[in-house]
């Protein structure tokens, strides 16, 4: 795992959603980087997210690109806008795919796929 991304996954294992903020200019970022993409400062910190947001856009995947997802179809692959101003890709779960809408309020849940890895996904809030 890259040093950029390790804190994100360590936090996810604790069922916490975190993202980065630049101490120099305040820019918030996701995916994680070792450097602020706005002002290029290397002084970036991890801050917690409340894990609440809305669906910016989504698609219901009917045909998986890879066999590891074949048993999951149809599933919702979505862009989530977190209340803190962070945009991330995730899945919307715990709801019929057909019931998902743009602007739907969602909250994070953690899917413990292995003892070492928990993946943040979203459910209706």
């Amino acid at each position: 795992m890259l040093p950029e991304t390790e804190p994100f996954w360590q936090a996810a294992k604790r069922h916490e959603l975190v993202f980065q903020q630049c101490r120099a200019c305040g820019q918030r970022m996701h995916f994680p980087r070792l450097m602020c993409h706005q002002c290029l400062s290397k002084d970036v910190e991890w801050i917690p997210s409340a894990g609440r947001g809305t669906v910016y856009s989504y698609t219901i995947v009917h045909q998986a690109a890879h066999e590891s997802f074949a048993s999951e179809v149809p599933y919702v692959y979505a862009i989530i806008d977190l209340d803190e101003g962070i945009r991330m890709i995730s899945n919307v779960v715990g709801v019929e795919p057909a019931a998902v809408t743009i602007d739907m309020p969602v909250k994070v849940m953690f899917d413990d796929v292995t003892p070492a890895i928990s993946i943040p996904r979203f459910t209706p809030a």
Binding site: H30, F31, T59, H62, A65, P74, Y77, I79, R87
Partner: protein, 394 residues
């Protein structure tokens, strides 16, 4: 500084597009070399006149592809480039070639792309080129290659502008209408909007017939200085303007800057191209728009300035975009009508623009065409390039 009218396209070549299963003994090498041979013959020049090469590496080749191709064809070059940033590589390649000619680095450039890619290996290629960040923050959520990225764009577009699937499906109806008359097209059967809307759902709201079919094929073009172009057999097609704009997450629209999914860098690229050409959208006799998906064309029509933002779907529904219509679009059938050979598709809009401007479009000829626009689109509408071509300098 401007490239306006300094260089011209003097020939093109396209191999026969076939389904992957019908590729037989055709290889990435034979495809690209065949297209190059056809383009050189078309221009009526000798191979030795080529001193510049821009090649698009097939996805399953190493990135030193242009060197390998130069060796295969035994070219003697003073300029070489290898463009590997998706569908904008063709139009951008024309600009880089024009700039190289203008700067005196070379005089005549061969541009070529194409492949024999097995569509089933698409995901594998995607994974090979994925960044560690894509793997960690995208791939784990089950994207379906580019299909899911463009589905996100279409979904958001429908939401913001109340566009319907039936309206957007007209892009395919138009493509197939042209493909039916175009000799080198794989999807020749005319189709109705209802048939598109009833086709199998792949990535909701994108259905099967809204997505290009990968296939085997190659395209090539020859660009030379405007002075040299006067001495060749074909009427020259001048490069009048061009612009490139890269401004978004390349492969996943979520990981760009904080920005709309429904306005693309096509807008900035095209505005730059028109500025250089000294022309406007109203001077264009047609547009050949990169059409990997239906929604790409809808957004591009808005961003090139043909209609207002949000009016694209209605515009397509109400406007005759055929070769005899008020604004001809994708008069060869585009990728949605012809199939998508990776690499060749980067050049297809340019080749068709040249075919029209040389008056060689046969049954699909746009009457009195003088100026036209061709676009390239890479990533998820992230990397855009527009060029303006004309059979005269304005």
């Amino acid at each position: 500084m401007s490239l306006r009218g300094h260089s011209a396209i003097i020939g093109y070549g396209e191999t026969e597009f076939v389904k992957y299963r019908d590729s037989g003994t055709r290889s990435n090498y034979t495809e690209q070399c065949d297209a190059a041979r056809l383009a050189i013959q078309d221009a009526g020049i000798s191979k030795d006149a080529i001193d510049g090469l821009i090649a698009i590496p097939p996805l399953d080749q190493k990135v030193s592809w242009s060197m390998d191709l130069a060796e295969y064809l035994q070219l003697r070059l003073t300029f070489l480039d290898n463009l590997y940033f998706g569908g904008a590589s063709g139009a951008a390649g024309m600009l880089y070639a024009a700039a190289a000619i203008d700067a005196g680095l070379c005089s005549t450039v061969l541009l070529v792309g194409g492949s024999t890619m097995d569509p089933k290996r698409m995901f594998e290629f995607g994974s090979e080129v994925a960044t560690p960040f894509e793997r960690d923050f995208d791939t784990i959520y089950g994207p379906m290659t580019d299909n899911s990225a463009y589905a996100l764009i279409k979904q958001r577009y429908k939401h913001e502008f109340n566009a319907t699937d039936e309206q957007i499906a007209q892009v395919v109806v138009n493509a197939r209408h042209h493909a039916a008359k175009f000799p080198n097209a794989l999807l020749k059967k005319p189709i109705t909007a209802e048939e598109v809307v009833d086709s199998r759902m792949i990535c909701d709201p994108l259905r099967l017939f809204e997505i290009v079919m990968p296939c085997t094929g190659a395209s090539a073009l020859i660009l030379t200085s405007a002075d040299r172009a006067k001495d060749v057999k074909r009427p020259p097609v001048y490069l009048l303007g061009g612009g490139q704009s890269i401004d978004r997450g390349m492969w996943n629209p979520a990981y760009g800057r904080d920005q709309s999914l429904t306005t693309s860098p096509v807008k900035q690229a095209t505005s730059k191209a028109f500025d250089m050409a000294g022309l406007t959208i109203n001077d264009m006799d047609f547009a050949q728009l990169y059409d990997c998906y239906t929604i790409t064309v809808v957004i591009a029509l808005e961003d090139i300035g043909r209609c207002e933002k949000g009016q694209g779907a209605e515009y397509i529904e109400k406007t005759d975009l055929t070769y005899t219509g008020s604004f001809p679009v994708n008069t060869d059938g585009g990728q949605l009508g012809r199939g998508q050979p990776y690499g060749a598709c980067h050049f297809m809009p340019i080749v068709e623009a040249v075919r029209q401007l040389m008056g060689r479009a046969g049954d699909l000829q746009v009457k009195d065409a003088r100026f036209g626009l061709a676009s390239g689109n890479g990533g998820s509408m992230a990397n855009e390039c527009t060029i303006i071509l004309g059979n005269e300098t304005p």
